[in-house]
Amino acid sequence: MLSLIKLFRFLNKYKGSLIFSICLLFVSTLLTLVQPRMVQIVVDEGIKQKEMATILLWGGGIVLAAIFSSLINFGSGYLLIKSSHGMAYDLRGTLFKKVFSFSFQNLDKFRTGELMVRINSDVNTIMMFVRMGFFMIIQSLVMIIGSLLLMYSSDPGLASIMAVIMPSVLVVFLVIATLVRPVFLKMRKKLDELNNVLQENLAGASLVKAFVQKKQEIKKFNVKNKGFYEISLKIGTLMSLLFPLLFLIGQVTMALVVMIGGQRAINALLVPGVPGITVGQLLEFNNYAMMAMFPILMLGMVLNFVSMAAASAERIFELLNEQPAITEKAGAVRKEKLNGDIAFVNASFRYGHGEMAVSDFSMEIKSGEKIGIIGPTGAGKSSLAYLIPRFYDVNYGSVLIDGENVRDYSLSSLRRSIAYVLQESTLFAGTIKENLLFVNPDASDNELWEALNLAQAADFVKEKENQLEEVIGEKGVGLSGGQRQRLAIARAILSNPDILILDDVTSSLDLETESKVIDGIYEKLPDCTIIIISQKINAVRSADRIIVMKDGKCQEKGTHQELLKIKGIYKEIFNTQVAQDQGVA
């Protein structure tokens, strides 16, 4: 609830329009409220007294009031809609920028789906709340209070009956809503379960077929389907009872008002001296009761909506309050080009409170040097490389580029000059060309082909029907793993990096292609510092220096030849991957 109120600061910008809109709404609602009173005057003073002028006068009054009320309502609605969408626009923008200010450490905490929900649905819920909520609350309150007051001015007795009945309707509604809510939540859960079974079944279709589990799957689905059917039917039954009930209450109330009012009117007629009410008044009451009843239901719905909006607001604040783990310091160094010297000085790093992923690591890499990093899964190879472009910050020690601490650089100058090809080679939906131009919008087609050639990707791109213009799906759907990796490498080359890091992105390539890619890059980018991370000897063997990592530490380093002579871990990996086969051959 508090978060929801705090979120209203996003409405500050639209304060003027909002207040104006509310005033307009107030006036418009008042204008609708006078209608029954005018009808009463026409009936009691016009028709009964046979006063033609009165009938025409107030008849015209009803039309005029309706026209004004509608026009003002248009204006008010427009302003309110504009403000609520404006707020949603700002809020979405703020959240999106916030997410992009996050470092990897922050991002590890949230799943993609969670971020999506916050930026999309939660903002929409808040927007709907502002638009509908404001509108309904104000209109309902004015209607309810106004009708009660007008009834009171006409006949205090009847009005007080209404004053008792109306809140009880609201209470009944809220009670029903609270009773039904958990059933609704349960239904959503059952629906999610059903959809999960479906989703998994389709995603694992080949497994289902290969293991011939069709019957089991159908059984599993039918159980969930049945479960959902039962709860859905329960809700449906409840709804078909309760919704008419709400209207029933409204109509019965009105009938009661007419009955009680009518009885008093008759008493007044039969027993002279008793103050009575007229037929026109009775009609007026009937109308006001109707006017007040609908807003009561609206109000109930809005109150129900508040808890949803409050939950959304809380989730939004979870994002807004998250502090980026890595920020630029004031007066950070901006450089167009880096030399490419890298130094780790007693660098240690861990994720959260886990064990050290990189432990007291020291090493100097010279500009233009080609480095291979090899080691078993979990050795800390990627973690070490992450420290260079500041995807994560060291816990102890430091990382230097060109002799200066990476923390002293602006993030943009670091990342512009360092091309880091991540393990999951994410491509975006669009053409191959768009994906490449993403990093370097000014590149010519020739440059694109050059980069593709270097990444050994030119051949398969040429085989595509539309070549560079071939549309690839999200995450590179329609491409094989190896093709995705090569496109990601081409993209990195195209960014003209001073430091290039390939993080296990040749794993899906056959050895021949892998060697061609790596040797080509070494040859064509002599000045670029290149770091290649892999589990395969083939990928690192031609590096100037190879680092063998295990448990976050450098265990061995040297050239391929030197390392083979040491007869340590590298040699062991070499034996399992290569030498055994050589022995056979």
Binding site: S121, G204, I218, G262, M301, Y420, I573, N575
Partner: protein, 616 residues
């Protein structure tokens, strides 16, 4: 738009008019067929709809009676000849009628709701069972997302139209008709006055309705574009950050965000306009009614009593409400038909790959596998395999090698009949696999893929997937063989550890170990390993190698791998390159031949340094 769903359930009846309420406005291409399909599902239960409509109609008529009775009560017992008892009696009767009408409406509503639920249940059940019989080619062409949307969103739309639509339409039409009749009986001239506004109103509603529909369609597109952009940029956020392209991404976002704002304001304002316009129309007709009615009452007091005018005022207010509702319902029905069309499209899709009618099973399954002159393409005119032929004797193993994308996995997909070949023959023990029972065929095979799939349940259940009846001990045994037992035991809840979607809470190497254990437990006659150990680090692989060797013993096995160590012990090696099998033999003979295979794999030893270590 996730709130679509929450709004579209029954609560939608009461929930305002947010964009979700209008859902989508697609039209069915062939509404007749979709409609017929739905009717066939309703089948014998059509009578229920009739009965329910009858109940709903009854409730509407009862409700329509009440304003007249109130008017009468005022006229007869207050104005003409005041009588407290009569008046009270009449009004009590009104209240009783209201109560009865509620009961009747609830019964009608319940019947409809139950029917809709039953039909959607059946439709879901049949669609799912049908989908299980469709082939991989269909899934790849249609896309899983699309199928899921047909099974969820489209079903919901059909449900919505049935559960809300039918009652709303019956309600709306009968409300209008009965009020119309009630009005006509009492006074045709006042009725005409009430109706005078109707043409204008209908014109305005349909005009705005059309505008709203267009605007919401555009709105949906804009919202879709925005959430697509958000989804993609968040999925790729690390790449974007690593190339320092945040600014560009945010610029794109702002543009789409702005579109959503602009179009959203327009569409919501248009739909908001309904309310004041309805109010205006009702007020106009009310003013007309009391002005003319008033004048008439002055000149013909005998015919136009105050009670009559009173009841007309009440009727006029109720008469117009259904119109707005029904324009909404029209859209709901349109979307439902479009949804039904997509659902029936799935149901009418014939399975491309089926067991043949006279399927023969092999009595003594040995496992000789032969490919004879096999031709295959995924898309016409784009051959993937041509003239592929080889034979592997039962119990022996065969390695399929070749450069990335040569068609190695395709060969496997053909053997399991995930896809059918266009020309040639694949046979096991001399029987064409097309003549075998599909389930029988696949029951003989065990496949381990590079990216194995797991269900979001416990490790134990996942391992038992191929043999649900296996005992826990058998599972442990299989896991030990696959070198998976140790890491599983180290997990906080051991074999009861819950896997997340696709088993993503394990590393790829661990997933591959699990997949191997799963196949060991299935104990297949033919074993297929497609890059099954690619992500397992070399040291662990050495251990599994032993397990795999014992697993392959006496089973026909197909191995696809890049790593030579996995291949070199194969009884036979076939080299696939550019749609053809270009070399065939043992590792040794192929190395000696110094052909493509030699070039592919000698790469690892080309460089001089290895020769000096040759002795190993």
């Amino acid at each position: 738009m996730s709130e679509n769903r929450s709004n579209s359930r029954p609560i939608g009846q009461g929930m305002g008019r947010g964009p979700g309420h209008h859902a989508s406005f697609e039209k069915a291409k062939d509404s007749k067929r979709a409609f017929k399909g739905l009717l066939s599902y309703i089948g014998q239960r059509k009578i229920i709809i009739l009965i329910a409509s009858f109940f709903l109609m009854g409730s509407v008529i009862l409700k329509a009676l009440t304003p007249a009775m109130i008017g009468d009560a005022i006229d007869l017992y207050i104005i003409k000849n005041p009588s407290l008892d009569q008046f009270t009696l009449q009004m009590s009767l009104v209240i009783v009628l209201l109560l009865i009408s509620w009961g009747v409406e609830a019964i009608g509503g319940f019947l409809i709701i139950r029917l809709s639920n039953q039909i959607i249940f059946k439709l879901r059940e049949n669609s799912f069972a049908h989908i299980q019989g469709l082939s991989m080619g269909y899934f790849n062409r249609t896309g899983i997302g699309d199928l899921i949307s047909r099974m969820t969103n489209d079903m919901e739309m059909i449900y919505n139209a049935m559960s809300n639509g039918i009652s709303s339409i019956v309600n709306g039409i009968f409300t209008m008709i009965s009020i119309l009749i009630a009005m006509f009986i009492r006074s045709w001239s006042l009725t005409l006055i009430v109706l005078a506004i109707l043409p204008v109103l209908l014109f305005l509603t349909s005009l705005i309705g059309k505008l709203v529909k267009d605007a919401f369609q555009k709105n949906q597109k804009a919202v879709g574009a925005l959430s697509g952009h958000i989804q993609e940029s968040i999925t790729g956020i690390k790449v974007i950050q690593s190339f320092n392209k945040e600014e560009k991404t945010i610029d794109d976002f702002n543009q789409k965000n702005n579109d959503v704002r602009r179009i959203g304001i327009r569409s919501q304002f248009l739909s908001h306009a309904f309310m004041p316009i309805m109010f205006l129309a009702t007020a106009l007709s009310l003013a007309l009614l009391i002005t003319f009615g008033g004048v008439l009452a002055i000149y013909f007091p005998a015919v136009f009593s105050i009670g009559l005018i009173t009841s007309f005022i009440i009727y006029a207010q109720r008469f117009f409400e259904p119109i707005r509702q029904m324009t909404n319902i029209y859209n709901i029905f349109q979307s439902a038909l479009a949804g039904a069309e997509r659902v029936f499209e799935v149901l009418e899709t014939k399975a491309e790959i089926k067991s043949s009618l006279e399927s023969k099973n092999i009595k003594n399954f040995r496992g000789d596998v032969e490919f004879k002159d096999v031709h295959f393409w995924y898309e016409e005119n784009k051959p993937v395999l041509e003239n592929v032929g080889f034979f592997i004797e039962a119990g022996k193993n065969i390695a399929i090698v070749g450069p990335t994308g040569a068609g190695k996995t395709t060969i496997i997909n053909l053997l399991t009949r995930f896809y059918d070949i266009q020309k040639g023959e694949i046979s096991i023990d001399g029987v064409n696999i097309k003549d075998m029972d599909l389930d029988y065929l696949r029951n003989q095979m065990g496949i381990v893929l590079q990216e194995p799939f797991f269900f979001a349940t416990t490790i134990m259940e996942n391992l038992k997937y191929g043999r649900p009846a296996a005992s826990d001990e058998e599972v442990f045994e299989a896991a030990k063989l696959a070198e998976a037992h140790n890491f599983i035991r180290r997990l906080p809840e051991g074999y009861n550890t819950q896997l997340s979607e696709r088993g993503m809470n394990l590393s790829q190497g661990e997933r591959q170990l699990l997949a191997i254990a799963r196949v060991i437990l299935k104990d297949p006659k033919i074993l297929i390993l497609d890059e099954a150990t690619s992500s397992i680090d070399s040291l662990t692989e050495v251990h599994i190698q032993k397990a795999l060797l014992s697993l392959m013993k006496n089973r026909t096995s197909f191995i696809i791998a890049h790593r030579l160590s996995t291949i070199k012990n194969a009884h036979k090696v076939v080299v696939v390159h550019d749609k053809h099998i270009i070399e065939e033999g043992t590792h040794q003979s192929l190395m000696n031949a110094k052909g493509f295979y030699y070039r592919l794999y000698s790469l690892q030893f080309q460089k001089s340094e290895i020769t000096e270590d040759m002795s190993i």
